[in-house]
């Protein structure tokens, strides 16, 4: 059988060659086929068992005479199979190979051919199938071992020791996308641990006496120590990656793990193949991520590969060794010596890439290529040399170039999504055009010396541009860094910010996107737009541009457009301040892309609905302060200030705490160097004030001190400044240039890499804290209902949470302020059924599932087919801890229409009949509602109802009015459900019992059956069944009496009831002869019924029954049981045995 060509390093160890041709070798495994193969056979056997591999005994290798590398192209279990392949190769491939001149081409051809053979044989070939077979075996074993769902993906496994108590256990650690598992089997003793990544609170390398050189995982529940890793660093990094994925999923549903086949194909060259598909994928991801970070590339950019080479730097005529990186839209270079020079060339600017002929006189340009850009302003050549694999590189670039050129004509990126929806057809209500930088429209009063200084700076920059090039593809050296630190002149800020931050790249790949976005965003009515509207005049009110409608509407457009572009952020205060400053210096569209880059790349998660990023960075600053300014750190913790100071600094990049004309210089560095800058500045600010802060008595004094200092940071070179009298009088603390310079020189050790890894660490903590807080809020909201204790609720919530996380859904947090916290935790019926069966004393019988379904319907107040946590608690509480009356009310209610329709009694299929019965019940309610409607309960439910009606009407607007009839019917059903629900949940409601519909005979009989059913699990069967029989008989008699009563009362009752009952009796008629042999109600005769009061009274009077219904059931034991079962449950969803308790 042919297989995807795979490099084999050692061609001969353990293998014996049977046949060989010029390009192919047929081998069989040593020792195979012989009963006693001697030493080598034993050795092979041992090695196979150690590596847990059972390779096929026959294989075919491909190789070219001058190459050392072998490719395995086929393998087989039998000699017959391999010979077939061998013949096929001989007949179909060998001939063609002679026509090639180059051996590399031959290899390429063979590999291609084999791959196409495989592809044609099994068409839907998944990239995942690239996982080696033995890895798959391990994966299957892993899933079986830990009882995980079958689609759980194993990432990798490592040998290590787990410290259980004081004893280390040697075993294997398995990482999958969702779990970290450990298994050891020593001396007949299994140790299994399963940790969910999303439960991890902390991960650290530690080195204690007890557990030397270990990795510690702290989860919400316990701590784990693992030691004796073979590859500790790799393991740790992988753990970090997986935890981060889990955290991101907790933050945002969409960020979860999705395999990126494209990326894998690209990086298959860079990443060693031995690990699993997922491990390779994650590695590739990490590589791409750091590549993007290094060169500030758009988040869609995937690294293709990298190669060592030299770059000719024309400004000093040198050849700088370094590495060239290639991705689908960019060529980048970084020098081997850190920060010596780096370069980003967008392929869209590249005109041509050619080989340079070797020059005998100058070997420094050997194996070189020259890349010519078509940039109008700045036509430049870039020369790379000493490229070992030059031909391949040139080919690759040419291939990418042809793709780029063909793509450049069609809309790309975001644009595509938007242009498909019909924007053009709708007439634009708002006419607007992109504004130039607002400082051009609203020039400030010129100040002589500032203008002079700005001109000087501009000259310096011009000189620099002339030597090092301009725009994105400038040679980035230490020179430019120094210039940036001194401040970018106002006129050049836009261009520099755009190219340094990478926003120019985003803009270039999404031309025209902004305009369409604005048109759509402004028409939208949303909370974000309201919030933006409120803040427009509170952004940069001191600047004349924002005292004018032009500036305000520009700001509105950019903020609304962003909120529309990225709904997961929407609008967050602080963005208005940042955006308004961007608009001063940049044209509208550029400002938009800078804002987007800032929100998505530079300050990740800062502005999302829980401001997670800013809180994460707050933690990082705290840690850095502890490292660099330990004394001050203690003082700040003592004052409780660690979580106070940095929020406004970071969220606005100091724009709202310093005069903005000073803070823009920090922006310069920030766009050039990334978010590490804000930490350097923050540390320096604390450092400068250290002495004074140490003497502060309270946090107020300290805050005042800092805010005064920050307010006094001045910039004498800034032209954007509002220079009024107060500027001269203002307290001046330090010039921003000095601040920046000193923070760079003193805190140079704070690097982007360090910040990124600290972010990983703190993100885990912050996300888990937020989870805890939201869980506490949920419990606080629900505990008042009085069904369960706090511990029980906590356990139950953690179960629900696990279920949600298990299904790989994010718990959606309240983006809507009116949504209650418990509404985020929702479960579907499938899960409810299991919970109900396990916990509820009513969940043991034969019909418990029907019962569960009806309770589910009753309590699902918004009819979304999910129970939120509060509803779940009610469902369980009402059946297991509520007082007897309430439980019986519930029991009664779930046997009434519309929950139990006539049809349900006969067969589980519902049809129109059900609706009719429902409307009957509603009629009952309507008739009595006038009498007692005005208690608070029904008020509440009325309000509820209204909201459903509006919801309904919205829904039905889409569909045609043909089903108005139907929707009105379902409204009636909704209404009767609402009434039942409020009846069941209210605790002291003697009054509204009258409004509860009476129960007719078929429903009553079903209820009786169900009551019998409830007791099946009870031990004292005898006594109970006698009691039930008594009660049932009594109720039957009461019903018969009531029949007579009813006929008397009929005239006095509302005609609606009569009409309804007459109507329903015709429905009931055919169904009513029942198995118990009761006489059929003849047509026209008044029906048999009982009321809820009669039902309650008779059941409560019977001691064994009332005992049963009053018994309180703790759910704690069952909770633990179910938790233990959780993995089994995922596998065998349907057949969880009902636990008998």
């Amino acid at each position: 059988m042919f297989m995807k060509p795979e490099e084999v390093l050692v061609a001969n160890a353990f293998w014996e060659t049977e046949e060989s041709s010029l390009y192919f070798v047929l081998q069989h495994r040593k020792g195979h086929g012989k009963s006693k193969g001697g030493i080598s056979a034993i050795l092979v056997g041992t090695i196979d068992s150690i590596f847990d591999t059972k390779p096929a005994p026959y294989r075919i290798l491909h190789q070219t005479p001058s190459s050392e590398v072998y490719y395995m192209i086929a393998c087989a279990m039998t000699r017959k199979d391999i010979l077939e392949d061998w013949e096929w190769l001989f007949n179909n491939v060998s001939e063609t190979l002679r026509s090639f001149e180059n051996e590399d081409e031959i290899t390429d051809f063979v590999n291609c051919k084999i791959e196409s053979v495989i592809a044609s044989r099994q068409k839907p070939i998944d990239v995942e199938d690239e996982d080696t077979r033995d890895f798959k075996t391990t994966c299957n074993r892993f899933i079986r071992l830990f009882n995980l769902p079958n689609d759980e993906k194993l990432v990798n496994y490592y040998s290590c020791s787990y410290w259980k108590g004081k004893i280390p256990r040697q075993g294997w650690m398995y990482f999958s996308v969702n779990y970290c598992c450990f298994h050891s089997f020593i001396l007949g003793h299994h140790t299994k641990e399963v940790i969910r990544w999303s439960d991890v609170k902390g991960l650290s390398k530690s080195n204690s006496l007890l557990a030397p050189d270990s990795i510690k995982i702290v989860t919400r529940e316990k701590e784990y120590n693992f030691t004796m890793f073979m590859k500790k660093a790799e393991t740790f990094t992988l753990m970090e990656q997986l935890i981060d994925l889990a955290m991101k999923r907790l933050i945002d549903d969409k960020k979860g793990y999705y395999s990126d086949k494209d990326l894998l194909n690209k990086l298959s060259k860079n990443v060693p193949k031995k690990a699993s598909f997922l491990k390779r994928d994650l590695d590739a991801r990490a590589q791409s991520e750091s590549y993007r970070l290094l060169f500030r590339l758009p988040s869609t950019e995937k690294l293709d590969g990298s190669i060592d080479c030299t770059l000719m730097t024309p400004y000093n005529k040198k050849h700088v060794p370094g590495r060239l990186f290639l991705s689908q839209n960019y060529i980048c270079f970084e020098s081997r010596v850190k920060a010596l020079v780096s370069l980003v060339i967008p392929l869209r600017d590249v005109k041509v890439a050619e080989k340079i002929d070797n020059n005998q006189a100058n070997h420094s340009l050997d194996k070189g290529i020259i890349i010519t850009t078509r940039n109008e302003i700045n036509k430049t050549n870039f020369i790379f040399a000493q490229i070992l694999d030059r031909d391949f590189l040139v080919e690759k670039i040419a291939e990418l170039l042809s793709k780029t050129n063909s793509k450049s004509h069609e809309p790309k990126g975001y644009r595509r999504e938007i242009s498909t929806s019909s924007v053009s057809s709708s007439s634009p209500n708002y006419s607007w055009k992109c504004q130039p930088p607002l400082m051009e429209l609203f020039p400030l009063e010129p100040i002589h010396h500032v203008i002079k200084k700005q001109d000087e700076m501009e000259k310096k920059w011009e000189m620099h541009f002339n030597t090092y090039g301009r725009g994105i593809s400038m040679y980035r050296t230490h020179e430019v860094c120094e210039l940036v630190l001194a401040g970018i002149p106002d006129k050049l800020k836009m261009g520099s910010w755009m190219s340094f931050s990478g926003a120019a790249n985003e803009k270039a790949s999404n031309r025209g996107y902004y305009e369409t976005l604005v048109d759509k965003a402004l028409k939208q009515i949303s909370t974000a737009n309201d919030e933006i509207e409120r803040d427009l005049h509170r952004s940069l009110p001191e600047h004349p541009a924002f005292q004018n409608e032009i500036g305000i509407s520009t700001l509105r457009r950019i903020l609304c457009a962003y909120a529309y572009h990225n709904p997961s952020i929407g609008y967050c205060q602080a963005m208005n301040i940042v955006a308004s400053v961007l608009l001063i210096y940049c044209s509208e569209e550029n400002a938009f892309w800078l804002l987007a880059t800032l929100c998505e790349n530079l300050l990740p998660d800062y502005y999302n609905t829980r401001v997670i990023g800013a809180v994460v960075d707050q933690g990082i600053l705290d840690e850095l302060t502890q490292e660099y300014l330990p004394e001050l750190h203690d003082k700040l913790s003592e004052l409780g200030m660690t979580n106070m100071i940095s929020l406004s600094w970071f969220l606005t990049i100091f724009l709202c705490v310093m005069p903005y004309e000073s803070a823009v210089n920090i922006m310069d560095c920030f766009f050039y160097d990334g978010s590490k800058v804000i930490f350097q500045i923050a540390l320096k600010l604390l450092d400068l004030n250290q002495e004074k802060l140490l003497n502060c008595r309270d946090e107020g004094e300290a805050m005042q001190l800092l805010s005064e200092f920050l307010g006094g940071v001045y910039n004498d070179d800034g032209r954007g400044a509002i220079r009024n009298k107060s500027y001269e009088e203002q307290r001046r603390s330090i010039s921003v240039q000095k601040l920046i310079y000193e923070s760079y020189s003193k805190y140079n050790n704070v690097t982007t890499g360090q910040i990124e890894s600290l972010r990983l660490k703190h993100r885990v903590r912050v996300v888990q804290e937020l989870e805890d807080t939201s869980e506490r809020n949920v419990i606080r909201g629900v505990i008042g209902d009085g069904y369960f204790t706090k511990t029980e609720l906590e356990e139950l919530l953690s179960l629900v949470r696990e279920e949600i996380v298990c299904q790989r859904k994010a718990i959606s947090y309240r983006s809507d302020p009116f949504l209650q916290p418990h509404e985020a935790y929702k479960i579907d019926f499938d899960f409810f059924r299991i919970v109900f069966k396990t916990f509820s004393p009513w969940g043991k019988g034969e019909f418990s599932e029907d019962l569960a379904a009806r309770i589910f319907t009753l309590l699902d107040s918004n009819r979304d087919n999910y129970l939120d946590f509060r509803e779940l608690v009610a469902a369980l509480g009402l059946t297991s801890t509520a007082d007897a009356t309430q439980r019986l009310k519930l029991l009664y209610a779930v046997h009434l229409p519309p929950l139990l329709s006539m049809v349900d009694i006969q067969s589980p299929v519902t049809n129109e009949l059900g609706d009719e019965v429902a409307s009957e019940a509603t009629d009952f309610f309507q008739s009595v509602e006038y009498g007692i409607a005005l208690d608070s309960l029904s008020l509440a439910s009325d309000e509820e109802l209204r909201c459903y009606e509006t919801q309904k009407s919205c829904d039905s607007q889409g569909s045609l009015d043909s089903n108005t009839q139907h929707s009105s019917e379902s409204n009636l059903e909704t209404k009767s459900l609402l009434n039942l629900r409020s009846m069941v949940q209210s605790k002291e409601s003697k009054m509204n019992l009258k409004s509860v519909p009476r129960m007719n005979q078929p429903h009553f009989i079903t209820m009786c059956k169900n009551i019998y059913d409830l007791f099946q699990a009870e031990p004292e069967d005898e006594r109970i069944s006698q009691a039930i029989a008594d009660v049932v008989t009594m109720l039957f008699k009461i019903g018969d009496v009531g029949k007579k009563f009813f006929s008397v009362r009929e005239d006095s009752e509302d005609s609606l009831i009569a009409a309804a009952s007459a109507h329903s009796s015709s429905v009931v008629e055919d169904l009513s002869p029942d198995k118990n042999g009761n006489p059929t109600t003849p047509q026209g005769e008044i029906q048999w019924y009982i009321t809820i009061e009669q039902f309650l009274a008779s059941v409560l009077n019977s001691e064994p029954l009332s005992e049963f219904f009053s018994k309180k059931h703790s759910i704690l034991d069952n909770l633990k049981k179910l938790k233990r079962k959780r993995y089994e449950r995922i596998n065998s969803y349907c057949d969880l045995p009902a636990t008998n308790v």
């Binding site: 009110p541 967050c572 205060q573 602080a574 979580n643 406004s648 107020g700 807080t773």
Partner: protein
């Protein structure tokens, strides 16, 4: 707790975005109104020396960010608060609706010793604007349901009732602090010291 020569009252202002928290604070402290305030990010604060019941105290007024997503970040600022001022905009019903959530969140995060008796003051701001959507009666009903919170209708712009409101805030804060000091002071001489300064005994007096 050492004897306090200088009494410091920490007051937190909470409420939805753009109800006028910053303006109220500035009107009270600096006696001026400006429409040039920026949206508050994180928190801001001002201090004012006032005389309450013949006692000179320093009021430290903390103004917080109003956007919903910042609500959970308040915890650092709430620590040690003596009084919490809730503000809503009488022309914007939503700002009134979220008062409950602000109050609850404060109580949870600040976790005062006696949540039931912790002093809140409610301010209905922007009474100079028309049309009103929250009547005094509705606001007062809410206050009654929350253990009789004092209620003031203010206008930071026209300086209506601002002074009176903050005086009440200061009194309540002081009463809260005194009751807290009483609880934790075990040394008789110090009690004497506070007694001389304190005009009336007994916990929070309602105004």
């Amino acid at each position: 707790m050492a004897s306090r020569k200088k009494v410091l009252l920490k007051v937190i202002i909470l409420g939805d975005s753009s109800v006028g928290k910053t303006s109220l604070m500035n009107q009270y402290v600096n006696r001026k109104f400006s429409n040039q305030y920026k949206a508050t990010i994180g928190a801001d604060f001002l201090t004012k020396e006032v005389t309450v019941d013949d006692r000179s105290v320093t009021m430290q007024i903390w103004d917080t960010a109003g956007q919903e997503r910042f609500q959970s970040l308040g915890v650092a600022f709430y620590r040690g608060a003596d009084c919490c001022v809730l503000v809503f905009d009488v022309t914007a019903p939503n700002t009134f609706k979220s008062l409950d959530s602000w109050r609850d969140e404060f109580l949870v995060q600040a976790s005062p010793r006696e949540p039931e008796n912790f002093p809140f003051v409610l301010l209905g701001n922007k009474v100079d604007l028309e049309p009103r959507s929250i009547s005094s009666k509705r606001a007062q009903q809410w206050c009654q349901s929350k253990n009789n919170i004092p209620y003031f209708e203010t206008s930071a712009k026209e300086a209506i009732n601002v002074e009176q409101a903050f005086l009440a805030i200061a009194k309540n804060a002081l009463a809260q602090q005194n009751s807290a000091v009483d609880l934790y002071n075990e040394f008789p001489d110090q009690i004497k010291l506070t007694n001389t300064q304190k005009p009336s005994n007994g916990g929070s007096s309602c105004c």
